[in-house]
Subunit: 194 residues, 2 copies
DNA sequence: TTTTTAAATGAACGTTCATTCATTTATATT
DNA sequence: AATATAAATGAATGAACGTTCATTTAAAAA
């Protein structure tokens, strides 16, 4: 029997993300995607059940890549300051390394399509949960609602990233998120937990 | 001559937003919209040049409503703490009062369609700029990059709102953003600026 | 070398899309 | 009451949509 050409699947996945990031979900038609990936429309249906399945698989792939990068060098026993800073750095690393994946991810999360299993992702959440409860035990932070914790610990970071990815920001010029600027913001965020 | 029935335009605008919020931009077809708004497809083209124009007009409308609510009772001479808290409260007011508008707004902003004039909106930005430079003059906050300021001052707020609007959040149950919870988060954010 | 199997294809399917157009309807003006 | 004008319409347009299918192609198994 003939063997699956994994380059084909890769091309489909990659071009699909590019098209979505550039033109939105509306901009992804199966025929245009086939053309961009140099395959027949019918070939797409060998690798994906249908358009919706393709979108969901892309989302799951991104989520898994994201989890993997975010957890590099991380463990729940790290001190609060060290651990949170590592999280910020890892997340930035992911965004810089895979800007298309991240843009796709954000667009997907802000759309009404979110309808996916998150097996791998909830393991990631479990790690974070342990990390936080450790920090509370040690008295590094006070006990608070998880959503409030999350908003203060990561809200500023994601806002900075948004600025970083925009063409023009507040002062009509490009904002580049460096590690130094991130340090500045991070030190301020730490004060919130004192 | 026959007069324009403004109820028709209102119905078109309202149903369009509902459809987008519920099914994404893909979910907005002109024929379905016509049916939902109880008009003929051709009628939509009396009020809007085409589909893209409709989307842009919706975005502009939301932006203007948002600016208006955000500036209620606000002026750039308020103390930093009072002014920023008022901004948080006004923004929450908008989101609670017009959840559909807000969801549409967020979806639009996270899509690649953003291609709009922002005349009214830049007046709003000017107000905020004066407010911040006043706060610096008075020594209420230190001088810092505007994007860093913005991220710390509003990042946590928007993160809380995101949790508020999600069906299930971190702990698999609904998170309701009350003014008390917002106060808690706000007090922590203030520490960042000390 | 032949057979078997699944990958890969281009053309075609029926449906839905955004938009247009000839016609009708309602109202302000004469 | 008659006229003028623009709102409002339903039907029609060709293009684009997601998906299927009969056929061809390539490689593993015999």
């Amino acid at each position: 029997m003939r063997i699956k050409d994994e380059n084909k699947e890769y091309a489909i996945r990659e071009k699909a993300m590019e098209m979505i990031v550039e033109h939105g979900f509306e901009g992804l038609s199966m025929q245009k995607l086939a053309k961009a990936a140099n395959v027949s429309p019918a070939t797409i249906y060998i690798y994906f059940k249908n358009r919706e399945d393709l979108l969901n698989q892309l989302f799951i792939e991104v989520q898994e890549t994201f989890s993997a990068v975010a957890l590099e060098g991380f463990n729940a026993e790290l001190s609060f300051e060290t651990g949170l800073w590592l999280q910020w750095k890892n997340r930035l690393k992911f965004i810089v390394k895979y800007p298309v994946l991240y843009s796709f991810y954000e667009q997907f999360r802000n759309s009404p399509l979110v309808n996916h299993s998150d097996i791998q992702f909830s393991r990631f959440k479990a790690q974070m949960k342990t990390f936080i409860s450790n920090a509370i035990k040690r008295g590094e932070i006070q006990k608070m609602e998880p959503e409030i914790f999350w908003s203060i610990a990561y809200g500023p970071f994601y806002s900075l990233v948004k600025f970083h990815l925009e063409e023009k920001t507040l002062m009509n010029k490009k904002f580049k998120l460096t590690e130094a600027k991130m340090q500045d913001a991070f030190n301020r965020v730490l004060k919130s937990f004192k």
